[in-house]
Structure formats: structure tokens, C-alpha cells
Amino acid sequence: MRVEFTVNGSAESVEVEPRVTLADALREELGLTGTHLGCEHGVCGACTVLVDEQPVRSCLMLAVQARNASLQTIEGLERENGSLHPLQQAFSDCHGLQCGFCTPGMVMTAVHLLATNPDPTRDEIRAEMSANICRCTGYNSIVDSVEQAATARGALARDD
């Protein structure tokens, strides 16, 4: 089946079998391998992307279900001038990753968190980020990262 959607603002069209997940369409058809596949049955959160601004596990959605949707993936976060998104910068600064496998999903989950709750408490960050599993960090540095990004974004907003 032919499926059309936008990814990080650019119109895309892929030809897929109905059984192909959105994650596989992004990775295999469009070469957007930043979206990682961990468990492939909706447990680990590594494949989280945004679909019409909502977080979605892209292994639990068929590509054909994404027709006409607007998708955001980790590849779309970097600024045009090459600088990192505040969350990417914070994950780097605070050692919010070690092996990095879970990081794209972590960051996309955090993008949605900060879009809906710009100034979360640490408990709220922990609750929201519990959707994503990390086997390296022990999570404290991930909470630190999201907290720093929230503070940085708050500062940016006040500068505007």
C-alpha cells in the first residue's frame, strides 16, 4: 500500500505491506535509523516518536495507520545551524546516556513532556520517563537532563 505522511516537516511517500510497523517504515524505507527498536512489542519505549504531536510507540502502530499524519523523529530536533536541541544538549551535559540505545525514545518522550508541562517536578519527570527503559544509567542522570532542559527552555522563553 502507498502511504503518505510528513516526517520532520518534509512530505514522504512509502510503499509498504500492511503489516509493516511505523518504526520499520521509518528505518527501512526512509533510512531514518535514529528511531531505535528495542523490544518490538511496546514495552521498552526506545522507538517513541511523535505523531501529530502525541508520543507514540512506533512499533505499536502500523505505517498504514500513519497516513496523512505529521511525524517528528529524533532526526528533526537539531537546529538548522547544527546546534543541539536543549534536550539533546542536556542529555550530553548531564550524562543522560551511556550506550545511547534508549536515548532517541527518551528524548522524544521528554519533548512531549516539556511541551505539555514546561516546568515539571522531579516526580513528574520520573513518572513520565518511566515509559522508557534504560539499562545503563540508573535514571538519575536522565531526570537531571530533563530538569536541566526544562530550566534552559524556561530561560530561553524569558529571553524572548
Partner: protein
């Protein structure tokens, strides 16, 4: 971990969906996919055809009346979080898995999947929700007490589509859940609802416990005690909670002994009733606490 091959159809009306289900052996409905997609990935389900309901716009409505709120089956769970039109659902929906699941998961999908450890079947049981189902040339209403037949089993026939669910509004309510990790299915969860009689002159308590048996359990003796004796004092609440814990049929499993499940039933019934009479005690999943 890739789904097996299947055909795919996306009808724009319930009638077309019913016709597709009736005409195809082993066809399956696809709502939000948050239970079906894992089953496909693990190849525990091998449907020949998936009938996707996402284009059936008639299934996404929410209608509020004085006595109840009627949700179209394809209303997404994230739309329920914090709902003021049905505050019990609004509170319980915060406990459904994670944001990324609630984005796609639907109210009808959760009820049709019928996992008693999930929030919506327990709330539906507590308030006595009515499921509306459409099949070939017929439609019917099914009460929550008739809808859940067993673990992942419902009254729905193979060619029937769950189209809407009518949730009566309780006067007072409470919801409490215990899970091993944030967002997991519950070990035990409880919804309590004080429901008005038809003439609004009297009220009676309804108490549903999920996560322990194959279907949510109504604790009829505890309900009777709460309605007749009242839940004005801590001692009265404790008496109702103790009674509820004797009404469930718990068996030991890997994560909890039967004794523990009964103790947690009493604890959560007590918390839910306390919320009902003192709404300031309503808790949210982001508030960290140690297991009771």
C-alpha cells in the same frame, strides 16, 4: 518480532466494518492497537484481515447528559485524562500505562480486550456502564455485568463492533491502584462509586475490584454494608474494606500471594472510599509512595 502478513481495510462506517467482519474468517478489528499490536508481534494472533476503525468518524464523539457520559468507542485514552465531564474516568485514566500508550489506546479497545487488570473495565463495572454493540442487521446494549465473560472474553459476537459506552455519573467516587512499577498493569485496582437510584431519591455504593480474577469483581456484601451502614467514619470504611477482601477469589501467583492480594484489596477499598468522602485525598500516579 514482526507481525505475520494480513490484509488491511479501513472502512468509513460501522456498517462496512460489520460487513467485512461477517464476510471474512478470522478478521479482527483494529482500534488503537496497543494490545493487538503486541499480540501480532509475538504472533499470538494471526488474523487474515485487520479492519481499522480509525476512519469511522462516528465512533469519536463524546456526549454528556445529566446522568451519564456516552463515549464513542474510538475516543483515545489521552482524551480521558483529567476529564471533568466524568471525573472518575478522568482520574482513573491517569493510571493507564504511559502517555505513549494513551495517545493511541482507545476506550472501546480496552473494554473489548477485557483485561481485568486494566482501569477502564473496572470503572465500567463500578458504575454499571452500558456497552452498545452493532452487528449485522442488529444492535444491542449490554450491561457491564453481562459484558465481561472471563479473562479477555466478552459478550461480543465475532461480527459485532463495540460502538459506544455509556458511563453513568456517580455522586461520589474513588479510585485506587497498586502496580509493581509505574504504568504497569495493576496487581489490584479498585473503583468505588455512589450511584443515584432512578428517582434520585436514594443512593447506593458500588465497589469493583480488578486485577485478581478473570473479570472485575463487584463486592456485593461490601456494597450493602456501605449503603446501609454508611461510610461516615474511618471505622465504617474499614468494616466495608474488610468485607470486600473476603469476597474476592484470589490465588497465589508469582508476584503476590492470595493473602497479600486480599490485604491490598482491603487497603485500596479503604483508600478509594476515603477519597470518595474526602476528595482532597485523591492521588495521582506521579505522587511517589511506598507500597502499603
Amino acid at each position: 518480532m514482526k507481525p505475520p502478513p494480513f490484509d488491511y481495510a479501513a472502512p468509513s462506517s460501522v456498517t462496512e466494518a460489520v460487513d467485512l467482519l461477517a464476510a471474512t474468517e478470522d478478521a479482527k478489528l483494529l482500534a488503537g492497537g496497543q494490545s493487538l499490536m503486541p499480540l501480532l508481534a509475538l504472533r499470538l494472533a494471526r488474523p487474515t484481515l485487520l479492519v481499522d476503525l480509525q476512519d469511522v468518524e462516528a465512533l469519536s464523539s463524546i456526549e454528556t447528559s445529566v446522568r451519564s457520559v456516552r463515549f464513542g468507542a474510538m475516543v483515545r485514552q489521552h482524551q480521558l485524562v483529567g476529564s471533568t465531564s466524568h471525573p472518575l474516568i478522568g482520574s482513573a485514566a491517569r493510571w493507564i500505562a504511559h502517555a505513549a500508550i494513551r495517545s493511541r489506546g482507545t476506550i472501546g479497545g480496552s473494554l473489548a480486550h477485557a483485561d481485568s487488570a486494566a482501569e477502564l473495565p473496572v470503572v465500567a463495572t463500578a458504575v454499571g456502564a452500558t456497552m452498545e454493540a452493532v452487528g449485522r442487521g442488529r444492535s444491542r446494549s449490554i450491561g457491564a455485568d453481562q459484558f465481561f465473560h472471563g479473562l479477555l472474553q466478552t459478550a461480543l459476537a465475532e461480527d459485532e463492533v463495540l460502538t459506544a459506552i455509556d458511563f453513568p455519573l456517580p455522586r461520589r467516587w474513588g479510585f485506587a491502584e497498586l502496580a509493581r512499577r509505574h504504568g504497569d498493569f495493576a496487581l489490584v485496582l479498585v473503583a468505588v462509586a455512589e450511584m443515584p437510584s432512578e428517582d434520585d431519591r436514594t443512593h447506593h455504593w458500588q465497589i469493583a475490584v480488578g486485577g485478581i480474577e478473570g473479570t472485575p469483581r463487584r463486592c456485593l456484601n461490601a456494597e450493602q454494608e456501605a449503603t446501609v451502614a454508611g461510610v461516615h467514619t474511618a471505622a465504617q470504611i474499614e468494616a466495608v474494606a474488610r468485607l470486600a477482601s473476603t469476597e474476592i477469589e484470589a490465588v497465589d501467583h508469582l508476584h503476590a500471594s492470595a493473602t497479600y492480594q486480599r490485604a491490598m484489596t482491603a487497603e485500596l477499598v479503604s483508600r478509594a472510599l476515603t477519597q470518595a468522602v474526602e476528595p482532597t485525598t485523591i492521588s495521582e500516579p506521579s505522587q511517589r509512595e511506598t507500597a502499603p
